[in-house]
Point group: D2
Chain length 325, copies 4
């Protein structure tokens, strides 16, 4: 039974490149052509960089050429400030690396956009990160230079979701970009994962932006270098799992328990079973841990700290204290 | 395979008496002794009253003697104000009936308590109802009689959850009750259902209060006539389904599809499968539709309107306009 | 002592054209050249239309040529739904008139922008209006025609304030406008008044947009036809009075009480006195009634209802019930 | 002209004992009998302890016997984390001293109550402090001892204001106290000051609780040892100034500028002038700096940090990181 196909046929998006890569490589039983994976570890987890090198890799992986950095750090889910600081530092360093690779200078202006819906707990990650962002662009416009503190001009926006504004976030992003001319966009979004244990433990950062259909809010229009005209770095953390994953896991456990069953499950039959389970709400069901509100709050702080440090690498973490609440 | 046993062994509570009754009667294939069920219908749905008459019924149903009224009204989930007004009216009438049965007079003071956590969307139903409650007790204390408008003294409280206060809501309720001496407590809570299609379509009202373990927030201590010293009416609406239900549904669909499997599934095996699926988050996973924030908002308004009308039956719905926003 | 000069020299903006007109005409003791004023009354108040006709009027009034409609309706501050509905109706009719005058058709798309800061009660009026706006633009993009309900495409945005985004709201408005091409912008803002009794009793609507320096948030860049490239209607309600007004009123009362004093108060002396009082907070002090949170909430509903009806005149007020919560 | 009499006759409460003491001593030109004042300074400000020793002092000061500690620290208003930490430390030490004086042991349970209204920015200080409180009581009830971390049992409540609940906060406090039996109540409230420069720069802590009429929300019923049956420590920070203070300051500045006027101002005349200015809103007007939302947020964090450290003195500031977000 093929998890990837099963979920895709149910219309469930794979937001994490790492998950897609694991599934595909598992099936192929070897590294995919056009794809490279590097792993390193740090005190609180591991960092995996999946690079899609060329068109062959793009096709196999079903996503754009670029660098997908995944930080897996279970203490992100715990109430442990030291670990959180460590994870922020790794995020900052990796973000800084991506920015350098894009040849964006230390003074170049950046626009941070938080996708998602304030009102719906698991989709509120983006707006909550914006709340903690160190915004400095207006200081450059209005304040004397000595008050700018050597900080890069950073603007931040949480424009709200389509149902509340009537406007695609991508359109707002493009419009604002054309007015304020940042050199880089960073988009922050809540993601859907395939595994429950990824919720609030995994951070994905990619220099390819946000594809249509991704995220908890299912963006209809992508936010990418193509659509924005400038580089876009996407940062996301899984906050939900699609209910179809639960159905799949249940089937998988059944097959593991009664292996002789495996052959009787035709893929189509599995689809039908899943649809039967999920139908009552049009299939659009999300699974979250009960303490999701706490998880979102912690995760937003860690992401914001990492982004703030990554965008202002010359500022020491300690002195952020004087800028931020 | 027995749904009731399956879920109970996984520690999943059956918040709806109607669901419990259906399951038990289905198993027994006849009406349960000590239990009576009455059904009536209205423009937007049906009202089922399950009455647990005596100790035999209590034992079978696993819940206290009393009246459990369930309003099933799918338009509650739709954005349809006329239907909402109709549902509020039915709720008001049924609430009024319960209050009359309890021999509580039209001027007797009432305390409305919203259980749950503001910060977590599916658990915010109680506090949101409180927000729309017509609070009048302080008018009776401080305002001249002509400003009291013939309204019953009503107080309302949304005290927050144990994790934020360190205090069981039941303790707060009991303490406040002992100070302000209401004749009746109404508790409002978000419930967990067994069926996805009950989310935001079903309202349960019971004159037995809230049992330990029930609701999205799993109250540890009940709020009942025994613990409070006065009658307690509980009003709840399912806003989540436990993930174990999804696992059960998946198994059920598989057995329906491959009936020969049924005999191979020993109950213990099913438990093990479910635990294997749900383990990564300690089993405490909730499933919600994506638009849960909108559903909660609509439902809170309908409940509040029904409670306001039910508590002040002499006021015409129209004239509430001048009291409420 | 000249109130207008006094306040202007203290850097206090006169947001209400009506107030400016009254002051100037009072000084001139006759109608100003290039300015026309028309008054009418309705059940709950009066509507005054000040029209600035030409350059002479522009210079005298210190604001752009155009129509400034002021609805004065004290029941806006009361908890009286019938009066609120009446005020919404007048607002809708007047808005509709302005839209017609601008020769904007019934199907032309409109962008509503709520200025101000969610987090600061008296400045939250704009964002709260947006919350209640009937947003339909996405239905036109994505839904089948029968679901569009004959509604004009309306988008709505509450982009946040400069200190939180680093971007002037005018820049965001301009960028979004260039992407989604509305035919009209409506901006909603909290205003500062000169008289305490204008707070939450007066609605100003002008087809000239928002000038720099106006509003509680002191927009630095205007949102006008010139800057946006399309017509801009501004709708505002006073929610604060500058503390300098209190100082002025105190002086005025003193002079009224001790008339012989009047001659001793040189304008410069009055300025110095006011600055001495206001200095400890850089002069940036606002005065609000204590119940400002309730007032904002009520006012936002009335404005949103008026805007919704004004933008969709073919929809009867009743049937809005099915679109809006 | 007597500031104290002027304000009291206008019904403006003097929330700060320090201000009352300064005014009274200024008038008397010597220390008041039955009152003692001690001053000390620290890196970021000063600490003044006014002790009302006996009935004579009570009568003169118009408030109960007890210890009133005032921390004046202008950097509280700045965005300076190091200073904030320093102020929290002083608050913690002083709180700890009061607790010791009350002979309340290190393991004795404490209930922290945040007065005020979430929805109105300047009155939201109390609820916001509660949000950051380290709540531990439920760990003592439910968690194994090793998870309790040697922390004192602390419960926290932000019950909302009379207009929303229909219940005096004092009644809720008393009711909860009688259920959970804390050894001490700490109430946190937003105060009104007489001087603009006290807003968000001054912290008052008193072992006498909260008197009726005090605070931004004008509690009608006090929260004191008498009403609660256990010691009550009140902690407050001025967030508003009554508009009458602005009127007074204006008069004062005028008299300073034109000294010959002083004799003409009869006290009654001054009252009449002030009432004339403030009448349009029933006199209930508050003055706040524009950035009050930021000030409240910072101040709430500093207070919460001080309270957390003061209640758990054996925990090092660093290790709070692992308990708190």
């Amino acid at each position: 039974m093929d998890r990837l196909e099963f979920l895709q046929q149910l219309g469930v998006n794979l937001d994490l490149a790492l998950e897609a890569h694991e599934l595909l490589r598992g099936k192929a039983q070897r590294e995919l052509p056009g794809v490279r994976e590097d792993k390193e570890s740090f005190a609180h987890g591991t960092v995996t960089t999946v690079t899609i090198l060329n068109e062959v890799g793009e096709k196999l992986m079903g996503r754009a050429r670029g660098t997908y950095i995944t930080i897996e750090a279970p203490p992100l889910r715990e109430n442990n400030r030291l670990a959180h600081a460590g994870i922020s530092n790794v995020l900052a360093a990796k973000l800084n690396g991506l920015i350098d690779n894009l040849q964006i200078g230390p003074d170049a202006p950046v626009l941070v956009i938080g996708l998602g819906n304030w009102e719906a707990t698991p989709d509120a990650l983006g707006p909550r990160v914006i709340e903690h962002c160190l915004v400095t662009r207006h200081l450059h416009e209005y304040a004397p230079e000595e008050l700018q503190g050597g900080l890069r001009p950073v603007a931040a926006l949480a424009p709200g979701v389509l149902g509340l504004t009537g406007i695609e976030t991508a359109e707002i992003a493009r419009g604002v970009t054309q007015r304020i001319h940042p050199s880089l966009i960073i988009v922050v979004d809540a993601l859907a994962a395939q595994n429950l244990d990824r919720i609030s433990t995994t951070i994905q950062m990619a220099d390819t932006g946000i594809s249509p259909g991704s995220g908890v809010g299912n963006q209809r229009v992508g936010i990418t270098r193509e659509s924005m005209g400038i580089p876009v770095i996407a940062i996301g953390v899984p906050t939900v799992v699609h209910a179809a994953v639960i159905v799949f896991e249940a089937m998988q456990q059944i097959i593991n328990t009664l292996p002789q069953l495996g052959q009787q499950f035709a893929p189509q039959m599995m689809q039908d079973i899943a649809r039967g389970v999920l139908a009552p709400f049009g299939g659009d069901l999300t699974v979250t841990p009960k303490e999701i509100d706490d998880l979102i709050q912690n995760t937003a702080r860690v992401l914001a700290a990492g982004i703030n440090q990554g965008l202002h690498p010359s500022v020491t973490p300690d002195s952020f204290a004087t800028y931020l609440q």
